[in-house]
Amino acid sequence: MKTIYDAMTEAIDGIDEKYLIKTAKCFHLPKEDAKRDITINSEDLVEMKKEIKKTNRLAKITAVAAAFICVMTVAILLVVNNNKVQVLGSSGENSLISDPFTEGEDEEPQISPEKQNAMDKINRLLLTSGAPTAKFENENKENPAYIDYNGGKVRFNFEMKQSLNAKIIPDAISFGWYITVNGVLQNITVNGKEQGEIYIHRLVKGVDYNSSDASYSLDFEFEPVIAEADKGKNKLEISLVQISNPDFRVDPIYPECSNLHANVVFATRILNVNTELKVKDIKKSETQYTEELMTVDVLKKHPEIVFNLNSGSKAEIIDEDRSEQVIRADKNGEVKLGAVISGNKNEKIRLLFLVNGIPTKLSDGSEYIEIDVRSGYLYEIKPDKILNVKPYDSIDILIMHCLDESEETHMSCSAFPSVILPYTNDK
């Protein structure tokens, strides 16, 4: 006899796989983990290999024994049939059975020290984390989500606390920040120094941190500039975007990595404009895109796209072959990039391509792509030549939401960063 609790636990254990798959799709992949990240250290790996070898050896012995019994059975049958006596499997030359203890002993993949070094670099970088909080001046007293702007500079302060409780402490870490106003990048001044459109903060082991935590404070300021299309609007969305490891460049020896240069919108505010804003001289792209209803069949073609009505739009980078998995340069070394965007909400978005964390231009010299996305539709931006991209560059998309009448800010999902691989004939 069981308790109700036990019976219910057993019932919950047996929940159908389809519900688990559906639920797992909604799990956010935490880009930052305040505690620790996963590493399979070398000791674990050695233990793991031993276990696997033991299992493999047992399996081999079993298979060999089974094969031996089969061979002997067949041999006996043949002997009985032909009334002849034969010795099978005893000759060294014609032995049917190979030695299970020597075969494949040295088949373990050997990783060169250079490759191991490149792999370690990536693993170290991925072990870092940060959780900034921004305090703005001129916050609206009634609603702190609004920043009153009457001219001059918008100022805010970051208090950064970063946990580095990793087994391997990296030698240096970098974090970058962008500020956008309705998707338009702003020129940033940090701690009194002009930085351009991206500010990269570099932390050095032994100076800024030792083995546990790093904390620092940054004073940001910027004078809001807008796109021509936003002229006359008195409510605009400020997005604060953090990018991880902007200094890091992929090593051709080990170009397989994930989440490098990942960007995340970690805070949004609404700029309550009471004055005229400067218009930035930026060009909107005229690149073509298609709109398609997000049916199950369409989503099957884009497994990384998740339709979620409760989150902002999500983008995936594609290349000329419309591949989301491997982005490759073409024969001439050029790269054509497009994007697939899931319309999760009705919203206007602006996209910028980032190369090694720096915004880049499209072939027509334009800086951003603007799309009015509708909920439930999938958008595909036709791949276009991206300037100044070469193999092993990291690419990403900044996908920014533009504020509309609802005055609802969105933290749109960034694309999954990718690395350009050189052209191969296997393409």
Binding site: M1, M8, K22, A24, C26, F27, H28, P30, K31, T55
Partner: protein, 184 residues
């Protein structure tokens, strides 16, 4: 470079150990959160995630899951629950299943004739009749032991709405089980 789940599965089939590093980098933090929600201890959660990766390595092949993420989360969940059961800490106070069994009249520790497998069939049938969002809330709450706050952040639904939905799901489950002949 992004490594797709499909590619990771292929790497596991090829016995390429890098698959574990890639899986750990992609899903490590998520797995640890799931383990932590159930076990309540960071060190144990980390150990659980390492064991889960080892289990992943051992089970693929022959298993070829449709969704690596769901498969791995399931492994993490099961190992976490096993750890708790062995340590006898997966008590009523720790598990959200406690609130689910409130729909039964004799929800104390009394022994009963309820059949877990039959109940499982009914729960799956019940879920099939629920809206997508309710299915997810149910699984997150009772399978993964998520708090209302965690569900809220994963689904981007406000906490009071989650609480209301959970209440309605339990009520609907009660009616469903009565309909199936349970004396509730």
């Amino acid at each position: 470079m992004k490594i797709s789940d499909q590619r990771i599965i292929e790497m596991l089939f090829d016995r390429d150990e890098r698959a574990l590093t890639v899986t750990g980098n992609t899903y490590g933090a998520l797995c640890r959160r799931i383990a932590y929600k159930i076990i309540g201890d960071y060190d144990e959660a980390e150990e659980c995630v390492n064991n889960s990766l080892f289990e992943l390595w051992n089970s693929i092949p022959p298993a070829k899951p449709k969704s690596l993420k769901a498969y791995l989360c399931g492994i993490v969940r099961n190992i976490s629950v096993d750890i708790c059961r062995k340590r006898k800490v997966y008590e009523k106070t720790e598990s959200n299943i406690t609130e689910l069994i409130q729909i039964f009249p004799d929800c104390e520790n009394t022994e009963t004739s309820y059949d877990g497998k039959m109940l499982c069939t009914y729960i799956n049938e019940f879920l099939s009749e629920q809206k997508d969002v309710n299915q997810k809330i149910f699984v997150m709450r009772y399978y993964y032991n998520f708090s209302v706050n965690d569900i809220s952040s994963n689904l981007n639904i406000k906490e009071p709405a989650i609480k209301t939905r959970l209440f309605r799901i339990r009520e609907a489950l009660k009616l469903f089980l009565i309909d199936k002949g349970y004396d509730l």
